[in-house]
Structure formats: structure tokens, C-alpha cells
């Protein structure tokens, strides 16, 4: 069940399609990312101008400069966002508000980590790829659902087993239960 990709699960293309553009705008999470130099060079290959914006640790500042860039932009501008998943979708949302269409935005994911939203205590947290995790805030054992919220840039975490909300207490008791049934 959880392995089948749902419609809302974002798909990141391993290779970017060669889309024509008048101007390319690369937004990276950190200037220090090894991907930064690589993509800056790749995107500029056919001589199309590339502008670079980086986070500089402050999301608000980044959104400000993105907005400013896009308010001057012409149709034919393509936006490339490079960072972890939650970064991608925060910037994506901002870009959509500035009038870019989905078809004008490419996402380059740089890390395997995912954001998880605990539907019980509303805490956002970064997780490693695993189907079951404990919520950092309320401690519930959460099942990571493949349903992805673009607004939150996160997957949904729901209580895995209401009869054992914090997970099986010990592996021994779990196997005893199994034997009993």
C-alpha cells in the first residue's frame, strides 16, 4: 500500500529535459552545494544567460530576491530550484505566486531526506527514508504516507497503530503476541 506512488507524490527527474529558454534562473539552497557549480555550468551551456540566487541562511530574504527577479522577468524565463525537498517546495510555491507556471519550473533534489508532517501535533520534521518513525514532538509512532502536500513541502505522518500508539514496547512482546494469535 505505502509503496505504490500516489498521484500527489512528486517525481524528480534524474535528468533535466533540454528545454529552450531566454533566461534561466537557478535558486540554490546553499552556495556551497556541489550541485551549484555543476548546474550553473550546465544551464549556461547554449549561451543562455543564467542568474544565481542562493539562500544565505535566510528564507525570507531569498523569497524577496526571487520576487524581485521575477517581477522583472519576461516569458521564456525558466526557474531551476536546487536543494532538499522542503526547500524545493517552499520556493516552488513562492514562484507560482509570482506567476510562473508548473511547466516553467524544474526541481533538482539534492538530498534524500524528507520532511514529515505529524498530523497529530502538526510538527514538521526532517526524516531519513524509512516507512516508520517516531514523532520528535509527541513521540507517536508514525507511518509515513506517500501523500505529499505541496503547500507544506512534506509527507503526512499518521499514527501507525492506535492500539500501540508509541509503537511496540519491546520486540520480545511483539513476537509473543504474534505467537498467541
Amino acid at each position: 500500500m505505502t509503496t505504490a506512488a500516489m498521484l500527489s507524490t512528486p517525481v524528480y527527474r534524474p535528468v533535466l529535459p533540454p528545454l529552450p529558454a531566454q533566461h534561466r534562473l537557478l535558486v540554490v539552497q546553499h552556495l556551497a552545494l556541489p550541485e551549484t557549480a555543476y548546474w550553473q555550468q550546465q544551464l549556461g551551456e547554449e549561451g543562455v544567460p543564467v542568474s544565481l540566487i542562493s539562500l544565505n541562511a535566510d528564507m525570507e530574504q531569498l523569497c524577496g530576491s526571487l520576487q524581485q527577479h521575477l517581477s522583472q522577468a519576461r516569458v521564456g524565463t525558466r526557474l531551476y530550484i536546487c536543494g532538499d525537498e522542503s526547500f524545493l517546495w517552499k520556493v516552488h510555491q513562492q514562484a507560482r505566486q509570482c506567476g510562473l507556471l508548473n511547466g516553467e519550473i524544474e526541481l533538482i533534489r539534492t538530498a534524500d531526506s524528507r520532511e514529515l508532517y505529524c498530523v497529530h501535533c502538526s510538527t514538521l520534521q526532517t526524516i531519513e527514508p524509512a516507512p516508520l518513525v517516531h514523532c520528535r514532538q509527541c513521540g507517536l509512532q508514525l507511518m509515513v504516507r506517500e501523500h505529499f502536500s505541496q503547500r507544506l513541502g512534506a509527507y503526512m505522518g499518521v499514527c501507525n497503530d492506535p492500539f500501540a500508539p508509541y509503537g511496540p514496547t519491546t520486540t520480545a512482546s511483539a513476537s509473543l503476541e504474534e505467537q498467541a494469535s
Binding site: L19, P20, A21, Q22, H23, L70, S71, A73, R74, V75, G76, T77, R78, C98, G99, L100, L101, G103, E104
Partner: protein, 313 residues
Amino acid sequence: MSELLDVRVASVRQLTPLVREFTFEAVSGDLPGFSAGSHVQVHMPGTGRPLCNAYSLLSDPQQRQHYRIAVRLQEQSRGGSRFMHEQVKEGDVLRLSPPANLFAPHSRAGHHLMIAGGIGITPFMAYIAALEQRGGSMELHYAYRSGLTDTYLEELAARLGAALHPYDGRAGQRLDIHQVLSDQPLGTHVYICGPDSLISDVCQTADALGWPAERIHWEAFAAPEPGEPFVAELADGRTLAVPGDYSLLEALEQAGVPVPNLCRGGVCGQCMTPYSAGEVDHRDLYLSDSERADHLMPCVSRGKGGCTVKLAL
């Protein structure tokens, strides 16, 4: 098919030697409302054959008392535009299909860029009225031949001022598509109406400049071109001889085999019909190459000269 409207021709104006304008009013009751970019199909009686062409409504969509269309006399006419030019007089009663819209202005566009070639100006007349009412940002690039296809030029100049960019082909003025498309603010949508060559030039240039397909909208002239006669075979074994100046759709309609249709110009997808044999001259702008292997659009496409097309109808 939805019910046809009876309308009376309230006035006819010859705008240029090639373009005639018709104003229709309801024979009784009110005309249904329409939105900018809508068209109607005009059914032409007394031609001894089912003749029916789609024309854009150019009147103000807020104006519910009448509909207005403009018809360019096509040299390659199968009879439709000639009928409108030579036969239709004030006071005549015609039947129209209710308005349908395949070419509406995009509701979220920040700026509307309209590109018209000749008689392709007609849907934009309604656009401009609608955009004026809602304060939409717009510009119009209009390519025409002065004295022949420069319909409504003065009115447009008065309404649009600097937002009108006229190009008179007779005076050698050329629309530089690349330049126009390379300098549009981010929220722009482009709309093209005119000959196929204009539409494909704009689409290709936009594509090369990185415009995504969602920002590009076009409407081709919705009149099928004549071709070679051929034979259509129906599923029940009946055969129809389709003359060169009939579309397959018209031949089917005359034989009492109605096919749902909307644009009669190969763009809307309504008339899609499966076929199992025969060589087809595909002229639509709707089907993909793989769909063409077993589907055709009878409003514009036809069998290649002399061949028999087997329809699954």
C-alpha cells in the same frame, strides 16, 4: 445536438471588397449569452446540400440583443463564404447553433497578447470588449492588407491607442514575431487567430523562446478545404460517395448519420471517428500521430482521392 436558434439578419455591411459583416437578432425571445472567443455555426439553407460554417462572434458579449459576425470571401470556398456574400440579405432567417467557446481568454493571465491575421481579428473584437470591462492589460498585433482585410482598423485604433500595433502587408510592414514574443512580462498569455502559417510561426517561435504550451492559445479558421472525391463505407455496409466540395462530416449528415461536432475546423476533438481501412488525408490539428492510425476528424479530414475509407459508424 443542442437546439438551433432562428435568427433574422438585421443588417449587412460590406466592410471591404472581401469582408462582409452580418448582424443577427432573435426571431423570438432572447439570444443566449456568450463569452469572448465564442463562435456559432451558421447553417446555410437552399444550397441543395448541408452547408454549415463556424464564425467567431465579434460583438460585445454584454450586448445580448444581437450577434455579429464577419465573413471573408475565400477564394477556395466550398460555397459557404460565397453563399454568405452573395445570397444572404437583410430580413432573411438563418439557423445558428448556440454559441460555444474553444478560445476563451485565460482568466489568470496578467497580460493578454493578441496576434491577428486578417479576418482572424473577429474573436479579438469580443476579447477587447470583455477585457475593457474588467480592466485587463492587453496589446493587439494586427497583420492585414489595407483596403482588403483591414477590417475594424479605425475602431481599433480609437479603442486601443498605443496598444494597437498594425502591420500593413501591402506597404511591406512585417510583424516581427520574435521581437514581440521575446519581451513579454511573466504572466502573459498569447492568443493567435489567423491563417495556419501565422499560427505555426508564432507557436514555433514561442516554443523556441521557452514559452510553455499553457501560455499559447490559438484558433484556426474553421472552414474545411475542398479536396478529391472519395468513398466512405459505413459499418452497416452502406457506401457514400463524398464529392470534392463536401466534407466527410457534411456527407454523413446528409445521409442521416449525425456525428457530434463543435468547431467544424479540426480543433475541438468532438467529431473524432474510428476507421479501420483506407488512406486518410489528415487535416486536423487535434489527433496525435498514433491516434491517426485508426481515428480521423470528418469535419476536415477526408479519404485520399478515389479511395474507400471504412468507418466504424
